[in-house]
């Protein structure tokens, strides 16, 4: 029986699933409370999930007939074959072997533990390789390496070569190290034999790579359209690990795809892939885990020259060597290519919204700020101090709503003043505003959608857990005003309170946007491109545009009057860019942004302010929401109302003044 996971943890795991869809989130947790939280969540998720999922994975691989591809060996000349001597279930009773020996034994009875020790010198690169499944034994072994203190677990492996285990580990100090072998799931029996090869890691010449190739200067060459193959192997003389550089020449205007096959060959390994510019140091793109554990990226080349692809093992994924194949392909760009970088240095921009003056707003999740990018590309801080801004949307009154990692939705005035606006959602993440002004939130705490009035009053909750996947993820309002939301690789819409699936894709789709024709522009961050679907969910352009790395959210531009236009913007979290697709490829303007005039006359608003009555409590609440949101209708709210309905100053003047105010 699976251990029962507390509800709170489930919610956190859902959050994890969402954020881990972004490669940067999953791979680069470094500093800051938000990233630390993600890292903790990731750790929490991995530990209980590993054994079962590994078994499923290896068995599915085996079904693909890929056995035998992992013939990488570690190796040392065989010295002797040593049979186990029971009891050997503890470090105190461990059997002795030396490097080069082959240890043999049987895991019997069920739950049997066999322990071996080997004396090593500091810096030696130990390889412990089990042969059991591969020699016909029904044993599914697990392997652990214990430090000289007899307690500290240094390394663990379940399945490396099919069901067989292997550990490669550089020992930090001289001493006696212990190797423990068990049957998976405490299995055991008379026929469950094994052999363990104790050796040091040696790297074989494999494939078309030419070691050393750990720098741009020594890179192996590969042509576009060809494959490179090699082995990632922890070199004894390279404690930092093996990085293989591949050089290729690409022409401006080409869109290239780099694609690694390694895990796909049946190995439980985790390769990562990066692309560097001609200087060999400027990283242009990075990917991990687009294709299962394998990696793939696409990139639009804007300058003809030599580029470098690197292949390495993901940090923390073990030191076991593995072979790989790198495919370097040219792909056909989409109608949205080439893309243009509109702003740089945006931190890690996730959410995206366009204001009614045409300025673009992005949330920097690590900088705890919302940045504004003017039409000239000038970047200013619009609002600071909002923890981990995630989803962004403008409400119908022209105020920016920002979902924060602290669990609140903030409302930010045009002057950049932020106040907590919605605080009763569990773990809100994405937000959208319908043309009728109603606000929609995703809540990861109970996998639901929540609907609020334009002034922030909770109205209804809709269960989204029934659709499976994760999330509910990114959210957008469809052509008829209904919310669409992602559960990862699928987009659903809510019809009469019930989810209906619109489309399914191989990749995780993030914050998407609609044009007036109902077409859906959806970024696939791990695939490094933006896809275009029609209103029925059919693919219109699998590659609408190739992002430089990992597009996270898209939004249509607006002009100075607030009308949406046929310009499409996207955030790129990993490289901190705001990008724009080629406008020539954007066929239609975006869905109009919502705006609802307050449902009363100017005279009524004035009379209500001056004590004549006539306004309902809801009217007063709306007016307060338009203005300073201090809980009552006052002259500040009245001023905001006059501005909203255009009764004071021209729109352009007011907008200019707002810009000036928030530029300070």
């Amino acid at each position: 029986m699976e251990p029962r996971v507390p509800k709170a943890l489930q919610a956190l795991l859902v959050l994890l699933a969402v954020v881990s869809a972004s490669p940067a989130f999953a791979q680069q947790p470094s500093t800051g409370s938000w990233r630390d939280a993600v890292r903790r969540l990731r750790d929490a998720a991995i530990v209980p999930a590993a054994p079962g999922s590994a078994k499923k994975r290896i068995r599915s691989m085996r079904a693909g007939g890929l056995r035998g591809l992992a013939q990488l060996h570690a190796a040392a000349a065989l010295n002797a074959t040593i049979a186990e001597s029971e009891p050997n279930g503890s470090v105190e009773t461990a059997d002795s072997v030396a490097l080069g020996d082959r240890a043999t034994g049987t895991v019997d009875p069920a739950g049997d533990v066999d322990t071996w020790f080997v004396d090593l010198a500091a810096g030696q690169l130990l390889s412990v390789d089990v042969d059991a499944f591969e020699t016909g034994s029904p044993l599914d072994p697990t392997l652990a390496l214990i430090a000289p203190d007899g307690v500290t677990l240094l390394a663990f492996n379940d399945d490396f070569d099919d069901l067989d285990s292997r550990i490669s580990f550089r020992v930090p100090a001289s001493g006696r190290y212990y190797v423990v072998i068990r049957g998976f799931g405490a299995s055991g029996g008379a026929g469950l034999t094994y052999a363990i090869n104790f050796g040091t890691v040696t790297c074989t010449a494999a494939g078309t790579e030419r070691e050393p190739n750990g720098t741009p200067a020594t890179a192996s060459r590969v042509a576009i359209g060809a494959d490179g193959s090699g082995e990632i192997c922890l070199q004894a003389d390279s404690p930092a690990g093996d990085v293989d550089f591949w050089a290729f020449t690409a022409q401006a205007g080409t869109t290239i795809e780099l694609d690694i096959d390694a895990a796909q060959l049946g190995l439980l390994v985790d390769p990562v892939l990066a692309l560097y510019a001609s200087d060999g140091t400027t990283q242009l793109a990075f990917n991990d885990d687009t294709d299962g554990a394998d990696s793939r990226l696409q990139f639009s080349i804007t300058t003809t020259g030599t580029y470098y692809a690197t292949v390495a093992s993901a940090p923390g994924s073990g030191d076991n060597p593995f072979p790989y194949t790198l495919h370097v392909r040219a792909i056909t760009p989409g109608p949205g290519d080439p893309i243009t970088v509109r702003a740089e240095g945006l931190g890690q921009p996730l959410g995206l919204a366009v204001g009614n003056t045409g300025d673009v707003f992005v949330g920097d999740v690590v900088g705890n700020r919302v940045l504004r990018v003017s039409s000239q590309g000038v970047v200013t801080i619009f609002a600071a101090g909002i923890p981990s801004p995630e989803g962004l949307a403008f409400d119908v009154f022209g105020q920016l709503l920002v979902v924060s990692g602290d669990g609140a939705v903030y409302r930010v005035t045009p002057q950049g003043q932020a106040t907590r606006f919605i605080t009763d959602a569990g773990i809100p993440f994405w937000i959208a505003v319908a043309p009728d002004g109603r606000i929609w939130l995703t809540d990861l705490s109970d996998r639901s959608l929540r609907r609020y009035s334009p002034t922030g009053q909770f109205q209804a909750r809709f269960d989204a857990g029934v659709i499976g996947g994760f999330g509910p993820g990114p959210l957008a309002i469809g052509p008829s005003g209904e919310p669409y939301f992602s559960n990862g690789t699928e987009i659903w819409k809510l019809v009469n309170g019930r989810p209906q699936r619109v489309l399914r894709d191989p990749f995780v789709l993030w914050a998407f946007a609609f044009d007036v024709a109902g077409n859906i522009y959806a970024p696939a961050p791990v695939a490094g491109r933006i896809k275009l679907f029609d209103a029925t969910g059919a693919v219109v352009a699998d590659t609408f545009a190739v992002g430089p790395d990992a597009p996270q959210a898209v939004a249509f531009g607006r002009d100075g009057t607030g009308a949406t236009v046929a310009r499409l913007f996207a955030t790129d979290l990993r490289v901190g860019h705001l990008i724009e697709m080629n406008p020539a490829g954007v066929a239609h303007p975006g869905q109009p942004a919502g705006f609802i005039p307050p449902p009363f006359t100017l005279e009524a608003a004035a009379a209500g302010l001056l004590g004549a009555g006539g306004l309902s409590a809801a009217d007063a609440q709306l007016l307060d929401a338009l203005g300073n949101h201090n809980g009552r209708y006052d002259v500040g709210d009245f001023q905001a109302y006059l501005r909203t309905v255009g009764a004071i100053q021209g729109a352009a003047t007011a907008a200019a003044q707002r810009r000036q105010g928030s530029d300070r």
């Binding site: 002057q415 003043q417 004035a606 201090n630 006052d634 002259v635 500040g636 001023q639 009764a647």
Partner: protein, 134 residues
Amino acid sequence: MSRSRRTFVMLAALSLGAACSNDPAGSAPGPRAGTLTVRLTTPHGDDGAMTFELRGPAIDTAMVVDPSLRLFTRRESDSRVVGAVVGPLANGAVIRLQVPDVSAAGYTANVLEVADRQDVLRFSLEGYALTVAP
């Protein structure tokens, strides 16, 4: 015309002329319609909106001095008008009042609420004042 009759006409004309002449020493003053100016004293340079009250015997109309301001008023009674003025407020004349008798005593004005130009309500009205004068 006889001599006596000519004398009567002259006397009548003279007496009528006397009645129409401006003779301060000779009669009590009457009501004099005109304009009063409401002036604002503010400690801030970024006021954007204000509500106020006007009190006085009678106020016919109120209008803003600066056309960039918007004024909204409501007559609560014969002697009290409340209003809101929105726009870039500053020290000095804000509103002109048309009254039936500028010499009448008792016209006063008070600030009720002020918001800055970013819609934020002032917590304190210290330093604010409105004065009414011809």
